[in-house]
């Protein structure tokens, strides 16, 4: 059975936020919810200071702490290692938000329009996004990235991978030693975030220069 994984090449990412916007468009996430996002980081000091973007998605941990703490069984892991939330079971206790080391679980109480100055009803596109969000996720639950499961089932790549202009994101099967991501991890010494928590994430990063 495949174990889906991500590789993000920090050498290639230049922080254009395409992944963040593509994820919003594909998953209709409301304002304040970002299943894929980028964070700028700095290290060192002048004249050897370094700036780096860190693109984030849910790390789809092999040992997901959010699933471990979920009291209702709303958080589950499928046969591909992807962690899902059942909106009908979640009670919105936010325990998973506390337990996730990566900030991947997010919650929102209601739809906050992207265009607060606009008068009248939501425009048709935002109204569509709101309806889709309410249908698939809704409010008060701790939502998360699911590696674009619907798109992957159709044979497509996750939206953030498809949209990355720098080709910094790779999606594939971690269990297949000959897959592109497995080769990249081996060849370029891919690493996981915060290994000290023992979660064994399915998302690997290739080191920056």
């Amino acid at each position: 059975m495949a174990r889906y994984g991500f590789v993000i090449d920090l050498k290639r990412c230049y922080g254009c936020y395409s992944c963040q916007v593509a994820c919003k468009a594909a998953n209709h996430t409301p304002k304040g919810i970002d299943w894929a996002w980028c964070m700028p980081a700095e290290t060192g000091s002048f004249p050897s200071a370094l700036r780096q973007m860190l693109p984030m998605v849910c790390q789809q941990c092999d040992e997901p702490p959010c699933m471990e703490v979920c009291p209702t069984g709303a958080t589950t892991q499928d046969e591909f290692g992807v962690v899902h939330v059942d909106q009908h079971l979640c009670m919105g206790c936010k325990y998973c938000i506390m337990a996730c080391p990566y900030g991947s679980r997010q919650t929102i109480g209601g739809w906050d329009t992207y265009f607060p100055d606009a008068e009248g009803d939501l425009d048709p596109y935002e109204a569509y996004a709101k309806a889709r969000w309410e249908e698939k996720n809704g409010y008060g639950m701790a939502s998360k990235c699911d590696f674009c499961t619907d798109r992957v089932a159709e044979g497509r790549q996750p939206a953030c991978v498809d949209s990355c202009p720098a080709k910094a994101r790779f999606f594939g099967d971690l269990d297949d030693s000959e897959s592109e991501i497995s080769i990249l991890i081996r060849r370029e010494r891919g690493f996981q975030l915060n290994p000290e928590f023992g979660t064994n994430p399915s998302c690997y990063y290739l080191p920056p220069r």
Binding site: M39, T43, S45, E68, L89, M91, Y95, C100, G140, N194
Partner: protein, 307 residues
């Protein structure tokens, strides 16, 4: 460059109230059950303690449910006891509510005669409820301590601190209600004041050890900085240290050693109110000091967006 670590914002006053009321209710019940073993002079204290457990924990649960994003799913809270401490807590709370309700109904009201003469049965029920109460107050600490990314919470000292604080809050609630109900400041109530004074000293030591233990990681040091010198510091120094520990301890000594010329219990009421406020604020301070570990990517350390 050090990341700008931010405290979590999702668990605040509502959860602090829940943790405090669960702890106080469970603590009062344990005091009541223990007092029931001490003989006739302690009957009033025993009845007050047992009577406080159920209502306080019920109100706590209502706070928790109202704080949920989807309260209508609250009934599912105990579905995953194999892995989730919140699920285990939900089961413990339900069991405690059942036993403590039965204890009240059969001993105090409306069937007050049912257990009045049956000491063995009443004690057995009390022991069962007491075990559940201890588990319940222990759970409030474990609930936070099980979050590994928040090093300020993820320590064995936290359940110990919450257990101690629960017992102390329970004792103070019993003294407060007892004095308001007209019990004299003598005998059992005066003895409880001695225990409270000793536990206040112990709590001050445990709080000190707890904060001293935060040097382990950058995020727990940031938490300690926030609590001792940052935005949360006024709440900690004024609310927990002064109102919650120093004032009740000082007033307790005044009462116990009759420095003001005679024990009336009025000062004990004030001391209990201060101590209870301190117990509540302690939970809030600990919640407000919770900071997630930064993301560590090679040489980079990046603070999570505000959680």
């Amino acid at each position: 460059m050090r990341p700008n670590l931010q405290a979590q914002t999702k668990w605040r006053w509502g959860v602090a109230t829940y943790l405090f009321l669960v702890g106080t209710g469970a603590g009062a019940y344990v005091v009541g059950v223990f007092a029931d073993f001490l003989g006739a002079g302690w009957t009033d204290v025993a009845k007050i303690g047992v009577a406080l457990g159920f209502p306080l924990v019920t109100v706590a649960c209502l706070f928790k449910v109202s704080e949920l994003g989807r309260p209508y799913n609250a009934w599912r809270a105990g579905m995953m006891p194999g892995t989730s401490w919140m699920a285990r807590g939900a089961i413990l709370l339900t069991a405690f509510l059942g036993v403590s309700f039965l204890h009240i109904v059969l001993w105090l009201w409306p069937f007050s005669g049912a257990l009045a003469g049956a000491d063995g049965l009443r004690h057995a029920l009390g022991i069962l409820g007491g075990i559940l109460a201890i588990g319940t107050s222990f759970y409030t600490g474990i609930l936070l301590a099980s979050n590994k990314p928040i090093a300020f919470w993820s320590t064995a000292m936290l359940p110990v601190l919450f257990m101690l604080s629960s017992l102390l809050s329970g004792l103070m609630a019993v003294v407060l209600v007892g004095l308001i109900a007209g019990l004299p400041f003598a005998g059992a109530i005066a003895s409880l004041e001695h225990i409270i004074a000793a536990l206040l000293v112990l709590k001050a030591l445990v709080v000190t050890f707890y904060l001293q233990g935060t040097h382990r990681t950058p995020e727990s040091r940031a938490s300690a900085q926030l609590v001792l010198h940052g935005k949360v510091a006024p709440l900690f120094w004024f609310g927990v240290a002064l109102v919650g520990l120093a004032v009740p301890l000082g007033l307790g000594f005044l009462d116990l050693f009759h420095f003001y010329g005679g024990a009336t219990g009025g000062i004990a009421v004030l001391a209990s109110l201060c101590g209870l406020a301190g117990g509540f604020l302690l939970r809030q301070v600990i919640l407000a000091g919770g900071i997630h570990a930064p993301l560590r990517a090679g040489r980079f350390e990046i603070a999570l967006p505000i959680v």
